[in-house]
């Protein structure tokens, strides 16, 4: 199992623990990654807002790099994933548009045929590795821990760009994975809502209130921790949780794990190797609970 690996900007910047836990988990599961070192930012919805064709061209360049390796592409960010799926859909349905975009790739010796398969790590785990293969490698089933899933908007909407009509099971991948790892998945309304991160610099009060509301709901429903496949959500849920506590006038103390950190714990990888000490909300108590598993 081999993928062209697109880590995105945040895993190479403010969330190094996502990068290191991804490498640790994929290695343990026998997934081979070829990192696309020269791939550009997807634009995270911000570039496509300014200039849609520009953002699509940068993504076509990345897809062409994966195609040159003859590999499907794997990303580790809900936002990157959604932006890539949207770009791919636009180019796949309009060959003339794709050809126009290719004229901008040609000077670099790249060409995109429109065929690159784009998958988030979550989809790779559930569709390519498979629950049974993951279960066979679990050395620390997560016992009676309760995990609250938090998807991130772009891996769930618009559903028709993400293949949900053909594969409705994608709606419950996080819950199914949490349960396969032995933990209990907490049901709460916030799981597919917006974390508020995109407007953190534009309307901080609203942004923090959104994050605080979802963390508080998970906390009230008895979650021991939250888990997200989106590092941008993580920046707000984890990185801004102190300020979010003030915004919702409640004491929030909710560790937030990146998806591969959670899988890594169940696979028996040391918390330090998963970078759990780099999460902003203290994970010490959770790590002690993991140690007792």
């Amino acid at each position: 199992m081999k993928y062209a690996f697109y880590p995105g900007c945040v895993a190479k910047g403010g969330a190094p623990e996502l990068y290191q836990s991804t490498l640790a988990v994929t290695k343990a599961l026998g997934i081979e990654l070829v990192e696309l070192e020269g791939a550009a930012c997807t634009g995270a919805g911000v570039l496509s807002e300014r200039n849609p064709e520009l953002a699509d061209t940068l993504n076509a360049r990345t897809f062409a790099m994966a195609e040159r390796h003859g590999l499907p592409l794997m990303n580790i960010c809900s936002t990157c994933h959604g932006v890539m799926c949207q770009a791919n859909a636009r180019m796949q349905k309009d060959p003339a548009y794709l050809e126009r975009i290719n004229t901008h790739l040609a000077p670099e010796g790249l060409h995109y045929s429109g065929k690159t398969v784009v998958k988030h790590l979550l989809w790779v785990l559930m569709e390519d590795v498979g629950i049974d293969a993951i279960k066979a490698k679990i050395s620390k089933p997560l016992g009676d821990l309760k995990a609250a899933p938090f998807y991130g908007c772009y891996i769930v909407r618009p559903s028709w760009v993400l293949g949900y009509d053909e594969m409705p099971q994608r709606k419950r991948y996080l819950e199914d994975l949490i349960e396969a790892l032995g933990a209990e998945s907490v049901e709460y309304t916030g799981k597919d809502k917006c974390c508020g991160f995109p407007i953190l610099t534009m309307n901080r009060d609203n942004s923090l209130k959104m994050t605080g509301t979802h963390v508080l709901e998970a906390q009230d429903k008895g979650a021991d921790f939250m888990v997200t496949p989106c590092p941008l959500c993580h920046l707000n849920l984890d990185g801004s949780q102190v300020e979010a506590s003030d915004a919702v006038k409640a004491h929030l103390d909710m560790p937030v794990l990146h998806l591969p950190q959670l899988v890594g714990v169940a696979l028996g990888i040391e918390p330090k190797a998963l970078g759990l000490h780099k999460n902003m909300v203290n994970t010490r108590r959770l790590v002690e609970q993991f140690a007792k598993l």
Binding site: G13, G14, P16, G38, K193, M210, H277
Partner: protein, 317 residues
């Protein structure tokens, strides 16, 4: 087929809080819609069920409600397409608006927001003897927004409105574009100046909820983003949203990828806002959040080609 409806009931006049009531209907036709089933309940099972509906054809927008947690039109939703593995369908009133009774919500919030954007054509100059003549091409961009049937689904599920009732919201802002983009409207500039204020276009998180739930394909968020482009082009640039967007683009253009620290700092317009970033920055350092490639934002391999692509496509803007 059998239909198992789990309907949220609530009468503020008598009930302390909402509760769920189950209705089991047997022998319903295969193509039965959620609205057909609800009408069957009201006509033959429980006449106290409060609901709105009219055309049954996805035109009037009366029967919007949450079905399995998401707002949509009940008349457009077949039971067979939404029944859960246990056969049940959960029906609740829309969100972000107060419940008057059962599935009926108070639309005052919705209409106030529509009113706030000035939802009529504001022309200047002498009124023509006959109609205003406009090129067909100049009206094509409005086709998307005029499809709105004011059902309220986007307002119900807007994630920003849930946090801040003062946000103008998706329906009103899509309607706002309908006039900003209309060549006959003479108040484009003052409209844009109004929409960039707090509670306006820059408060949208682009979470795609309104795009997902709109039963008519209006995609309100896309029109909010269009308004942002229009506002920036019209010179409304002194906003953190514009700074964020520009610095984002510059960062990727120069290095091929995003410089998060620079983006956060330079998006903030005031010193006070910049200082608000200090605690989170310090926490990051204390937690050893050093990028795997070191602290300096380096140029990705091939960054020159990224820059070239920017230059080629920015020229088309």
């Amino acid at each position: 087929m059998d239909v198992n409806l789990r309907v949220q009931r609530y009468d503020p006049a008598g009930d302390r809080k909402p509760y769920y009531e189950e209705y089991l209907l047997t022998g319903q036709p295969e193509g039965v819609t959620v609205l057909d089933a609800l009408i069957e309940v009201r006509e033959n099972v429980d006449e106290t069920l409060g609901m709105r509906c009219s055309c049954r054809s996805s035109i009037c927008g009366s029967c919007a409600m949450r079905i399995n947690g998401q707002a949509t039109l009940a008349c457009k939703t077949r039971v067979s397409s939404v029944a859960q593995p246990d056969g049940s369908v959960t029906v609740e009133p829309m969100g972000n608006m107060p419940v008057l009774k059962d599935l009926v919500v108070d639309f005052e919030i919705f209409w106030n927001k529509i009113n706030d954007i000035g939802p009529w054509l504001k022309t200047e100059g002498p009124v023509p003897e006959r109609e205003y003549i406009v090129d067909n091409e100049k009206m094509l961009n409005l086709i998307g927004t005029v499809g709105c049937i004011m059902c309220g689904a986007c307002v119900s599920d807007c994630t920003v409105l849930a946090a801040d009732p003062d946000f103008l919201g998706p329906a009103a802002l899509a309607k706002a574009y309908r006039f900003v983009g209309d060549p006959r409207d003479a108040h484009r500039e003052e409209r844009l100046a109004d929409y960039v204020k707090d509670g306006g276009i820059w408060d949208c998180t682009h979470c795609y909820y309104c795009v997902e739930v709109c039963p008519k394909g209006v995609a309100p968020m896309e029109w909010i983003l269009e308004l942002r482009r229009e506002a920036e082009a019209a010179g409304h640039t002194n906003h953190n949203g514009v700074r964020h967007s520009k610095v984002f683009a510059e960062s990727v253009k120069e290095a091929g990828w995003l410089d998060e620290a620079k983006l956060a700092m330079e998006s903030m317009g005031s010193l006070k806002e910049k200082l608000s970033l200090v605690p989170v920055g310090l926490r990051s350092l204390l937690h050893g959040k050093m990028p795997p490639t070191g602290p300096l934002h380096y140029k990705r391999p091939g960054a020159d080609h990224v820059k070239r692509i920017f230059e080629e496509l920015e020229a088309k803007e």
